[in-house]
């Protein structure tokens, strides 16, 4: 079985973000980057399937040089080889999906995993677009996954409800938080990952279908009152607020 997992490296959301000069993206200097959280579940699901079926697992990422760290993590979690499509521009979902499609269309993957969205943009498009480009079955927002020749998944709906579905391969699933418990790469596996095949390629992106008009911080209107300073003063202030509202 040939398995693919698509991952993205994203900025840590606890960072402070400053708009970069082009006004379409943020300034990346001094930010910490990590493997997109949703993709951790996708990598784990792909590794588990590889372990179950004895398949071969490729991980692919489109992004600048720094994204190689995310690929290394996926290799250390258990992927067999990595493809890094070097891309310095900030692509929109359609462009990313098209770039991945061009790389993999001739490979005949049986199962493709992606995160359901990236935590920086939250568009939730790349996986489904890729499935449509490949003309294979795809299901988004999967919180349970089983393979027994066909795949059986549970899709998360709102408020705790799920839908159970069955479909044939080849197929693509986008993975939601909580699908599994992503493993931590162990030191021996991190060492082993260093020897696994990695290829770097470039691929021209198609024109974007979106135009960013402006980027900035959210409006401050209605923003909270900050309680800063000394711990004990903060405590008394909160006690006073609770008493004032007759909540304590």
């Amino acid at each position: 079985m040939k398995i693919l997992v698509c991952i993205k490296q994203v900025a840590d959301l606890e960072s402070r973000f400053q708009v970069a000069s082009g006004q379409t993206w943020f300034n990346e200097t001094d930010l910490a980057f990590r493997l997109n959280e949703y993709d951790e579940f996708a990598v784990e699901a792909a590794v588990q399937l590889k372990e179950q079926t004895g398949g071969d697992l490729t991980v692919i990422s489109v992004g600048p040089a720094r994204a190689s760290e995310a690929l290394k993590k996926a290799l250390a979690m258990g992927a067999d080889q990595a493809v890094h499509v070097l891309e310095d521009q900030q692509l929109e979902s359609f462009q990313t999906a098209q770039v991945i499609f061009e790389q993999i269309k001739a490979q005949g993957y049986d199962l493709i995993f992606t995160g359901m969205q990236s935590s920086d943009k939250g568009s939730g498009q790349v996986g489904l677009l890729l499935g449509e480009m490949l003309k294979i079955n795809s299901v988004s927002c999967v919180v349970a996954f089983k393979y027994d020749g066909r795949i059986e998944v549970e899709r998360e709906l709102e408020g705790g409800l799920r839908a159970k579905l069955k479909l044939a391969t080849p197929a693509l699933v986008t993975c939601q938080l909580g699908l599994n418990q992503p493993r931590y790469p162990t030191l021996p596996n991190i060492m082993k990952a260093k020897k696994k095949p990695k290829s770097e390629v470039t691929s021209p992106a198609p024109a974007s279908r979106l135009q960013v008009v402006a980027l900035g911080p959210p409006p401050k209107a209605g923003a909270a009152e900050l309680i800063e300073g000394d711990l004990l003063a903060q405590v008394s202030k909160v006690v006073a607020i609770l008493k004032e509202h007759k909540l304590a």
Partner: protein, 299 residues
């Protein structure tokens, strides 16, 4: 300009979010045509055309085909869905087939551009598609609902069979705790760091007579049961007091608690997006602040 609004159906009922889409369309000055792909018990009230399909409730291939059929007849400039499990699944499929750009989870519309949230709420951008035609998904609750009025002209379309087999809905297990009834909630987020630190949040909840709530990662990590989860895939709560300890304020969490009467957040990041809905943000390390507050309340 015309918009095709695609309503969603759950267990034979049309989701009320259709009125948010109608509200958006009227705010944007668009003529509305509505498509509902599965049978519904009661028709929506609006003036315009309603295409009624006879498909299943989730079958992307067949819903895509029905939508394309209606799009070919109606020539809309925009195709609008909610940014929900239904909408975010169908939208890219349509965008791909149409060759249009997709704008995900729009929170506002202003003179031809849509606003979106980036990096978990710390930035916003406004975007439009290059061609002008777009598939758009709307953030739940972002647009005011249109008042139900009028009766649509009906037209039926028929579904083809998709390749995904529907095995049924899976209910969440029966739960002892009903957070929606709680008057006070103290919630733990990923900022508590590890399961061992839940104890201090529980203790604070106890002295306040509050129930324990949680953000999704705390539930996904298995630290507490799903019945404690607040948010779009958990409970929607409106207590008198909501304390968010180490919760960043992702839109899916906010969706479940922003209508609480008094919201106090404890976060070491003063820019955390929870500040958009909180009344107070205590900028502190919760591992120090929470036990100190508990102690003061006990005294």
């Amino acid at each position: 300009m015309k918009a095709l609004l695609i309503g969603e159906v759950l267990r034979g009922k049309l989701a009320p979010s259709l009125y948010e889409m109608l509200g958006f369309a009227s705010q944007a000055g668009l003529e509305s045509v509505v498509l509902v792909c599965a049978p519904i018990s009661t028709n929506p009230q609006f003036t315009g055309k309603l295409y009624q399909g006879d498909g299943g409730e989730y079958d992307p291939l067949s819903h895509k085909a029905m939508a394309l059929e209606v799009i070919a007849k109606e020539n809309p400039d925009l195709v609008v869905l909610m940014h929900s499990s239904y909408g975010w699944d169908l939208a890219p499929r349509l965008a791909m087939e149409l060759g249009w750009g997709q704008i995900s989870e729009a929170i506002a519309f202003d003179s031809g551009t849509f606003n979106q949230v980036l990096v978990g709420g710390k930035l916003r951008r406004s975007v439009k598609t290059v061609s002008g035609q777009a598939v758009v998904t709307l953030q739940s609750g972002a647009f005011s609902e249109a008042a139900p009025a009028g009766s649509p002209a009906l037209e039926s379309i028929s579904a083809l069979k998709g390749a995904i087999e529907w095995l049924g809905y899976v209910e969440k297990p029966a739960q002892d705790l009903d957070l929606t009834k709680a008057q006070k909630i103290v919630s733990a987020g990923r900022g508590i760091g590890k399961a061992d630190n839940l104890g201090m949040i529980q203790e604070l909840a106890q002295v306040l007579g509050a129930e324990l709530g949680a953000s999704r990662p705390v539930v996904d990590s298995g630290w507490v049961e799903h019945s404690h989860q607040v948010g779009s895939t958990g409970a929607t709560v409106t207590p008198e007091l909501y304390m968010a300890c180490g919760i960043s304020g992702a839109v899916q969490h906010l969706a479940g608690m922003k209508k609480s009467e008094l919201i106090i957040a404890i976060n070491k990041d003063k820019d955390a997006p929870i500040g958009e809905v909180a009344h107070y943000v205590v900028v502190a390390d919760l591992l120090q602040f929470v036990p100190a507050l508990t102690k003061a309340l006990k005294a």
